[in-house]
């Protein structure tokens, strides 16, 4: 496929790896933010190509992984209601709530439908006027325009039987939260190419400057990731702290303005809980008051006195780059993709699932 295959050439990947090896003079730790990048790194064993001085840490950029347990419990509660059709991206079904998952609700007869696009939920709502249809609107900035458009159209078409359980998070506050942690080891970031395709990268410039940290907007194919690392390491070696754009075939500095416009129409910045991490200030998108009648949390109020169950799962540490998946005692033993203990073992973009699938053993 064009724009895919040419970025997977192993000879060229080695050239980048050699250039990285020629450039490093000391140890450096770089974090890729996005779970899609984590998946590529594990799939193509990119860490194995890199010199030993360079360690990669995997970041929190997997929306499936960071959706709070409380919201999964709410989803389960709503999906089990008799008159509800609950629509979700497929990845969410196996994510453990505090005592069950959506898959269990489905196997007990709950009407849960896996959709490809949030717009599919509009069709389901139009076709089932006697039912309440709820869409689980999760995602980072990449997914925000699609979710925002579905919500916008629901209002403009006056579709009354559709609402949205929103768990939208945004990347820059999470980067700051990682950098502010006293245990932080990250010295450079690969920013997420598709998040920046939507939002551009101006908002990363003050972060690079204030925290003195290079940030390279990076794509998802092996050559993209290796070039992103190369650019990041070069900055580190030269003592530069800038935002650079490796993924310029898709990312423009200002981002996608049409998409940003709909996001701003529908959403406002709010504090959000991140699973395993806790609340991060100003890190979420919630519905603006003008759209609150489409908020599933308002339409189906439920009081939860949620308590985090003690498990062996250390996914919160994995998501912050403080531990690697294979340092978890449950990894591959009591926790596998078939019976995951944590969300990072569910999504294909979760670091635990990526390690398990490709059996990456790293120090």
């Amino acid at each position: 496929m064009k724009y895919v295959d040419e970025y997977r050439n192993s000879k060229e990947a080695k050239m980048f790896a050699e250039a990285i090896a020629r450039t490093v003079t000391r140890t450096w730790t770089v974090m890729e933010i996005c779970g899609g990048q984590t998946h590529s790194i594990a799939k193509y064993s990119l860490q194995d190509l890199l010199p030993p001085e360079l360690s990669l840490l995997h970041g929190p950029g997997c929306p499936v992984c960071v959706t709070p347990v409380e919201l999964i419990d709410k989803a389960i509660h709503i999906a089990a209601m008799p008159n509800v059709i609950f629509c979700s991206f497929g990845d969410m079904l196996r994510v453990p709530g505090s005592s069950a998952d959506l898959f269990k609700v489905k196997s007990k007869g709950g009407d849960i439908r896996i959709v490809y696009s949030p717009m599919d939920a509009l069709n389901i709502a139009r076709d089932n006027p006697q039912k309440e249809v709820v869409f689980f609107a999760i995602g980072f900035e990449t997914t925000a325009p699609a979710n925002a458009m579905a919500i916008y159209q629901t209002k403009s078409e006056n579709i009354k039987n559709l609402s949205f359980l929103v768990s939208q998070v945004i990347v820059p506050p999470a980067i700051c939260s990682i950098l502010e942690s006293p245990q932080n080891r990250v010295q450079g970031f690969l920013a997420a190419g598709h998040v920046c395709t939507i939002m551009g990268y101006s908002e990363y410039e003050p972060i690079a400057k204030d925290y003195k940290i290079p940030i390279v907007v990076t794509g998802f194919e092996p050559l993209d990731i290796l070039q992103g690392i190369f650019m990041c390491v070069k900055q580190l070696e030269e003592g530069r702290f800038e935002v650079e754009n490796q993924y310029s075939r898709s990312v423009r500095k200002e981002g996608n303005l049409a998409a940003q416009k709909i996001i701003q129409e529908v959403f406002q910045i709010i504090p959000r809980q991140w699973r395993g991490i806790g609340e991060i200030k100003q890190s979420g998108l919630g519905l603006k008051p003008a759209y609150s009648q489409y908020d599933a949390e308002v339409r189906f109020p439920c009081e939860f006195h949620y308590q985090e169950n003690a498990t062996e799962c250390i996914s919160g540490l994995v998501l912050q780059g403080l531990k690697k998946p294979n340092e978890c005692p449950a990894f591959g033993k009591s926790c596998t993709p078939e019976s995951p203990l944590g969300a990072t073992m569910v999504s294909t973009e979760g670091a635990c699932a990526a390690y398990y699938r490709y059996q990456t053993v790293q120090s």
Binding site: M1, Y116, G139, P145
Partner: protein, 84 residues
């Protein structure tokens, strides 16, 4: 989840900017894709698609830059070899 893949627009229908859609081919698999966020997209453009929406038009010239860097590295590597 942020997985988004490139495909080629092979047909466009509708001119209302909010509901303009296109048929996009992903290596032969064709899907109907919302083009609201790529209002300037035209036939034969390659777009990055995420959950049913095109989110950018791929820039052919910029797409070459990875290989330009590789070429520079290659000549750098060669000259280094000559030096040794």
């Amino acid at each position: 989840m942020c997985l988004a893949i490139p495909g080629k627009i092979i047909q466009i229908s509708g001119d209302d900017p909010l509901i303009r859609t296109g048929h996009v081919s992903f290596g032969g698999i064709i899907k109907e894709i919302n083009l609201a966020y790529t209002p300037e997209a035209t036939l034969d453009d390659y777009v990055i698609v995420h959950v049913g929406f095109a989110i950018s038009i791929l820039d052919e010239k910029e797409a070459q830059r990875v290989f330009d860097t590789l070429n520079q590295l290659d000549s750098f590597g060669n000259s280094e070899e000559r030096l040794q």
